[in-house]
């Protein structure tokens, strides 16, 4: 009996990439359910379109690159990209918008760089930003929360709208959509209204945007579950939310009528999704614990800066991509002290 030489270790732990990816998807399920409840079936249609497109594009490019298709699809990364993008896009987005976003995310931001593990940018956010700068009107047309809708669409009607743009007779887009809280705040501040005046409006809820605050809460819940299952560590989310809160608190204390407080920032827009699901993407983020703190803190500051003084209502996607660029440098300068090497 002669055995092949196998290098140690001879045993392996239970972790594998597919499990990690699937858990990220599971953690988003409460938030997806919340979206359906608050903003209608749109997110489900987005998910259907995005997942189909992601799997098709991924498979096609794997075939072109002569890589194993089934094994690679099973890593679950295309699925996660699709789900994150679908959740981030407006619920009443047309199918082509979703598809273009997914195409850019999967093909340009990932496969052309060499596939999972080699992408310098978070694919979902790269796709999101492409859409945001190319189709600003479609991207800011958010579904109105249930209490503010004058019409409701069934799943089939939303699907038809997504595919053909047709709405049931008598229903207009205006009846279904509204601006987001962050958008409204920005526009109205520009018109010399104060924060307290603006927040008296109907689209604002208890702490953030109406509906949004609940979805953000559900995303936080999913994020905490990821922490508990040790899919992610606390460093990135704590740093993102901490620095975003700190920035908001500082400016809010200076002038509360010009700058919304930290709770509003945490409960609005993509803060929670960014902190727990996007910035924790290991491939494009920093890896060491200290590096992750720097990465997250930088991202929180950028989110606040873009939201407050930038040209776009939300800054999560831009902040992630900017910090992605900085990740290699952060990793380089935050190397841990190796055993047996002098401190400092």
């Amino acid at each position: 009996m002669t055995n092949p030489v196998v290098s140690s270790p001879h045993v392996h732990g239970p972790a594998n990439v597919s499990n990690v990816m699937l858990r990220v998807v599971y953690a988003l399920l409460p938030a997806i359910a919340g979206c359906v409840w608050l903003f209608g079936w749109g997110v489900v249609v987005n998910l259907l379109v995005a997942i189909t497109a992601a799997l098709v594009f991924e498979a096609a490019f794997l075939a072109l690159r002569r890589r194993p298709i089934i094994i690679t699809l099973r890593d679950g990364s295309a699925l996660v990209t699709a789900v994150l993008l679908a959740v981030a896009l407006p619920p009443l987005a047309p199918w082509w918008l979703v598809t273009v976003g997914v195409l850019f995310a999967i093909v340009f931001a990932k496969q052309l760089y060499g596939g999972l593990g080699f992408n310098p940018f978070n694919p979902a956010m790269a796709g999101y930003v492409l859409l945001l700068v190319s189709f600003p009107q479609e991207m800011t047309n958010w579904a109105a929360p249930a209490a503010l809708r004058s019409a409701d669409l069934g799943l089939v009607q939303v699907l038809l709208h997504s595919l053909t743009g047709a709405l049931p007779t008598g229903t207009t887009m205006d009846a279904l959509s509204s601006a987001t809280a962050l958008d409204t705040l920005k526009v109205q501040l520009g018109m010399a209204h104060t924060v307290s005046e603006i927040r008296g409006g109907p689209i604002f809820g208890l702490v953030g945007g109406r509906g949004w605050e609940i979805v953000n809460g559900l995303i936080l819940l999913g994020g905490l579950w990821l922490l508990w299952r040790r899919v992610i560590t606390w460093h990135v989310p704590a740093a993102v939310l901490g620095s975003l809160s700190l920035m908001a608190l500082l400016f809010h204390l200076v002038n509360p009528e010009l700058y919304a407080g930290p709770l509003f920032h945490l409960a609005s827009g993509g803060a929670m999704l960014g902190a727990f699901f996007i910035a924790t993407d290991p491939v494009s983020g920093a890896t060491s614990a200290r590096g992750q703190l720097v990465f997250g803190a930088g991202m929180g500051v950028l989110i606040y800066v873009i939201r407050t003084w930038g040209g776009f209502p939300d800054g999560v996607a831009f902040a992630v991509l900017l910090m992605n660029m900085a990740a290699p440098a952060i990793d380089y300068y935050t190397q841990p002290r190796v055993y047996g090497h002098n401190r400092g």
């Binding site: 030489v5 140690s8 270790p9 045993v11 392996h12 594998n16 596939g115 060491s288 841990p336 055993y339």
Partner: protein, 557 residues
């Protein structure tokens, strides 16, 4: 004596970065007392079972040897001798396959046992306290004792801290952190007295201020046994410390950090921080060598895993084949998939069952497919950083992997490749199933090979530089000579006129003619001989003439 050695106050423990809580599978064999393996018919003893130079053979094929007789001696300082594990006949001294990561063959002494187990004469030293450190080291060296924990470094060297170095703490490693292995556990339970006796000898040899025995807290019986053994000899100066079970606590650097808070410097040795670390089994072997005079000819081996019918802890003669041991454990199961020498995290694959157990072989692990854990496809690194979180050296394994894979060895070294202890934690947790440790071994080997090549080429370059320099010096000297000659010629007046040239030629021709006339013959290389040379030639001619005469005389007869 400071409060650290005071039994009243528990010693402060530190922790190292990372580490893993692994399913330990020790229950398979930890309940099995040490039993002696049956005497094998044939023993194969590799000449190199330690770090350092292979031993030099002292016996010849056909020679009868006694149990405990030295059959190969240490070759140089970093080396260890080898002893016959039983009495019998040397039947071969040749290359045999040995347990080695790359499945190599190496020179071995093969002994067929006569079944009589006749000992050679032993020289026990019951009163070792009267011996000085040098004498003790010599006994330990002659007994062929090497680190039994796995590395196999000759123990006497580690007991020689150097005249100017003070040893603060002697650490005895009883952590046994790798899953499955229970040989040290059983040894501490059943031979606690030997371990303590060995510890005292080592302490004496080192003049160590403190002795600390570190045991993982998953071995309470071993801890109790050692405590009782300490109480029996009334030694309060040897401290027994339970450390949390966490792989790789048994790594020398990790255990030292836990027990003392000190870190062994990178590329350094424990002695650099005034610490010496030995395995508990080595301590027991030292006791046997000194107090009983017995060289290292056997060790405790755990034979375990799902692939073996009845796991055992066996006292095994060095050189016994793995196959013999498996047979004594009821044979292997049909599901056996891989044989490993050592633990599941750091052991080496045994290519076949005929390989011998060596001094460092603590465990024969027969693994079945169900014991390998998750065996998914190898994927790209997703930089999750799980490897960095578990790395006990606090390295960035993902960066090391990246650079090793790209053969960018300079960068791999920038990321401290050589501080990697190859414990396997990173590969165990890697969700992409990357064989990380294999990449690091590859990179290390390549770097060593490059260093060797570089040394070689540097030597060649030095030689070449020297040669070029010498040639240039010769050339310069020749040029200088020529220039001098030329200058001398130019100094002579009217050297360039036609007449002068003709005169010179004429003069030269006349000189030559006169010479020829004086000699009376054409010039030969025998012209201008010294008187001494001339005498030698004359003598030779005379000898030849006599010989010729004799010859012709013989012919005539």
């Amino acid at each position: 004596m400071d409060n650290q050695a005071n039994p009243g106050t528990p010693r402060q423990l530190w922790r190292f970065h990372g580490g893993l809580h692994l399913p330990d599978h020790k229950a398979l064999s930890s309940g099995r007392p040490i039993t002696s393996a049956t005497l094998p018919k044939r023993l194969v003893l590799p000449l190199q079972q330690h770090i350092g130079a292979p031993a030099k053979v002292l016996v010849e094929v056909g020679e009868r040897v006694l149990k405990g007789q030295m059959i190969a001696q240490a070759d140089g300082f970093v080396s260890a001798p080898l002893h016959a594990p039983t009495s019998g006949t040397v039947v071969a001294v040749e290359e045999r396959p040995v347990p080695h990561p790359s499945g190599l063959s190496a020179p071995c002494i093969v002994i067929d046992s006569d079944g009589e187990e006749r000992w050679t004469e032993l020289h026990p030293h019951a009163h070792w306290a009267t011996l000085d450190a040098g004498e003790l080291r010599n006994i330990i060296r002659e007994a062929g004792i090497v680190g039994l924990g796995g590395a196999g470094f000759p123990s006497f060297i580690k007991l020689n801290p150097g005249a100017r170095t003070e040893v603060d703490t002697l650490v005895l490693n009883g952590a046994e952190c790798e899953p499955y292995i229970t040989c040290d556990d059983r040894l501490m339970r059943e031979r606690a007295g030997e371990v303590i006796a060995g510890a005292r000898i080592m302490r004496h040899a080192l003049h160590a201020r403190h002795v600390v025995i570190g045991i993982e807290d998953n071995k309470p019986e071993a801890h109790t046994a050692l405590r009782e053994a300490l109480a029996r000899v009334d030694r309060h100066d040897i401290e027994l410390v339970q450390v949390p079970t966490l792989y790789p606590t048994g790594g020398e650097k990790q255990l030292i950090k836990i027990l003392t808070g000190k870190e062994v410097p990178s590329q350094g040795l424990p002695i650099d921080v005034n610490i010496v670390c030995h395995n508990v089994a080595t301590a027991a072997a030292v006791h046997r060598a000194v107090e009983r005079g017995e060289p290292l000819i056997s060790r405790v081996v755990t034979v375990t895993g799902g692939g073996v019918a009845q796991p055992h802890n066996l006292e095994v003669l060095i050189g016994t084949s793995v196959d013999d041991l498996l047979a004594q454990c009821g044979g292997t199961t049909p599901t056996l998939s891989r044989l490993v020498l050592g633990g599941p995290l750091m052991g080496i694959t045994l290519q076949h069952r005929g390989l011998p157990v060596t001094k460092t072989g603590n465990c024969i692990l027969a693994l079945t497919p169900g014991e390998f854990g998750q065996q998914g496809p190898v994927r790209n690194c997703i930089r999750c950083g799980e490897c960095a979180r578990v790395c006990p050296a606090n390295l960035l394994p993902q960066q090391l992997y990246w650079h090793a894979r790209a053969k960018d060895f300079d960068h791999a070294q920038d990321y401290n490749l050589f501080d990697c202890i190859e414990c396997g934690c990173c590969a165990y947790v890697c969700p992409a199933n990357l064989p990380l440790v294999q990449y690091y071994r590859y990179a290390k080997t390549e770097i060593w090979a490059q260093a060797r090549d570089k040394k070689k080429s540097e030597l060649a370059r030095e030689r070449h530089d020297f040669r070029t320099e010498r040639q240039e010096r010769d050339k310069a000297e020749r040029a200088a000579k020529l220039a001098k000659k030329k200058a001398a010629l130019e100094e002579s007046p009217a050297a360039d006129s036609e007449e002068a040239k003709k005169a010179a030629i004429k003069a030269a021709m006349e000189r030559a003619k006169a010479k020829r006339e004086a000699a009376g013959v054409e010039p030969q290389n025998t012209d201008n001989l010294t008187p001494d040379q001339q005498r030698q030639i004359d003598e030779a001619e005379a000898r030849r003439a006599t010989e010729k005469k004799n010859e012709s005389a013989n012919e005539r007869e």
